[in-house]
Symmetry: C2
Subunit: 345 residues, 2 copies
């Protein structure tokens, strides 16, 4: 799945393509992608729609711009939507592809670590609602995901670190060897060493693909990929989308989930320290911002998608490194203690 | 599938239900449905959202009201959305159920002939775009469809006739015996004879279910259910949604498709006359309104979902009664002649 993109019209079904990208990525890569699609292929016509950049535009109004462009261009069911950008573009383009004419072909070309290791794989697509993230969407698989690690050369440092939060997550929830490799190679990853980055992306995609193939619709196992995300979503919602990057919020959220796991007596102290330590080296936050209160956490967590019949299920570590559970059966006191330890009321 | 609704909480998964209905149906049936769901079941809680009535509200803004209500009510993945109303409500509620938290349970309680014989069966859901009908949506199957023919007692005459257009369609495209039964029983149907109505609905659902089970995602066979719909959509778009009922536009569209089939030499003159005759008896239009021009037909048909790589495929009758084809291979002259015969330029 990781390749130095020999992207061409061969990856595309039909003759018509809509590239969905944003104002930040378009100047860097749009021409290259259009050129790759049309080179030697006069029959392929490519339209593009350039959306504003950022999580705060992951909404219904922006999604409608994709439909408007597709309909004005008279695209039909055999067209292909190509997502060129990070996770926000991938999620929105994927949901647009799922919904346009009740479903058209879809390809992901993720240009951030976050999208390459997480959001482009597995078929979750969607947009935000003012009251919560990703509440409107679809499960919709791309025909393929094309990853060109050269795109990381233009990625800002904060974006790089944000993606590493998800890489670290795979180690914590299910891959002890990978976590230990990360502990040895975190400086190489921060320095964008190409071989280290390629390995981290490949191993992350493999972990994600394995989980998703076992549980596409999130019956239970797939939910474990959301370690730290329930706390993290509360941070993102509390701050307003886009102030912290997704991986930054997930990093702080993972520290909270790990703290809670320790309070429940499910993991030992050393694992708490190793988690905090590697996140610090990745220059990621290890606590929520002061402005996000306990009340914010409680109200956002109450509308989390993992609430079932009123009970909030969480992903928590349990046992040695590389083991976790997805459960609603935990002592509510531990959650209270974690919230009080990290936030003001 | 046709039953005198012994509807109860037994049909619903989970404890929480959102009934989506409209201002016309709510005063007639909402209390009954809520009562049926909660009778003897204090654990089931029912929310409802009452949308404005009519095709012109089948849009993104109205859809958002369903999401707003679901999120404000803190519904989770185990909830059930119930569509109580006609085709517009079923399509919107279904698309909302497909998209809310990437998919929740969904039940249809159709209250019009149109919805009972057509839109509630088969899993097509969606909303309109200003440039065309049903351009945004999903394939999403309901857990069940509950049909209570008593609801037809409150249905206006025009709505009844509109639904019969789809009933007649099943006869024309695939069920000669059913068409002949309709020719003998059209007066009983117009008089809402309960036994005749129940038979017509049952036979229609069987025809639709058979086609859909063979071709859920509309590879080809399912498209035949759209006899008259391509012309009909142009009429609806040209007039503005909601001025003609869907079945009225489909009736005029079927006459045009049948006319074109005759011009191609694919059917005999008698079938043209029988089609026009039964539609007249059902008090349905047999020609488009004068205000819809050839240019309107051409521009709307160019963005039809059945266009593939630029070629408009149509459903046309071919051979004896009960046979049709879905094809882009026809003499363009016949289409031109039909448009000129029925419309001004």
């Amino acid at each position: 799945m990781v390749e130095n993109a020999g992207f061409s019209h061969g990856h595309v079904h039909g003759k018509r393509v809509l590239v969905v990208t944003n104002t930040k990525v378009a100047p860097l890569y749009l021409d290259k992608v259009v050129e790759a699609l049309t080179r030697d292929n006069p029959n392929v016509s490519v339209e593009s729609v350039i959306l504003p950049d950022g999580e705060k535009y992951k909404d219904m109004d922006t999604l409608m711009k994709v439909f408007d462009k597709a309909i004005e261009s008279r695209l039909d069911r055999r067209c292909t939507f190509v997502a060129l950008g990070g996770g926000v573009i991938g999620d929105m383009c994927g949901y647009a592809a799922a919904s346009f004419l009740r479903g058209v072909n879809f390809i992901q070309i993720p240009t951030t670590v976050m999208a390459q290791v997480d959001s482009s794989v597995g078929g979750k697509t969607g947009i935000n609602h003012p009251l919560g993230k990703n509440l409107i969407g679809a499960f919709y698989q791309p025909q393929c995901v094309l990853i060109d690690t050269d795109t990381l050369n233009t990625l800002p440092d904060r974006e790089l670190a944000s993606g590493l939060a998800e890489v670290i997550k795979y180690g914590l929830i299910r891959d002890a060897d990978f976590f230990e490799w990360q502990e040895r190679n975190i400086q190489a990853l921060m320095a964008r060493d190409p071989a280290a980055m390629a390995y981290a992306i490949k191993r992350s995609c493999e972990n994600k693909a394995e989980v998703v193939s076992l549980d596409e619709k999130e019956g239970g196992l797939r939910a474990t990929l959301n370690l730290g995300h329930t706390f993290g979503h509360a941070i993102e919602t509390g701050l307003g989308y886009g102030n912290w990057l997704h991986g930054e919020a997930v990093a702080a959220g993972m520290v909270m989930a790990v703290d809670m796991s320790y309070r429940l007596g499910w993991i030992d102290d050393a694992l708490v320290k190793r988690t905090t330590n590697i996140l610090k080296q990745a220059k990621l936050p290890i606590a929520p911002p002061e402005s996000v209160t306990i009340e914010t956490f409680r109200s956002v967590m109450a509308v989390d998608k993992k609430v079932a019949d009123g009970l909030l299920r969480l992903i928590l570590l349990k046992g040695p490194l590389g083991n976790c559970v997805f459960t609603g059966e935990y002592d509510r006191k531990a959650l209270d203690e974690t919230l009080h330890a990290f936030c003001k009321s």
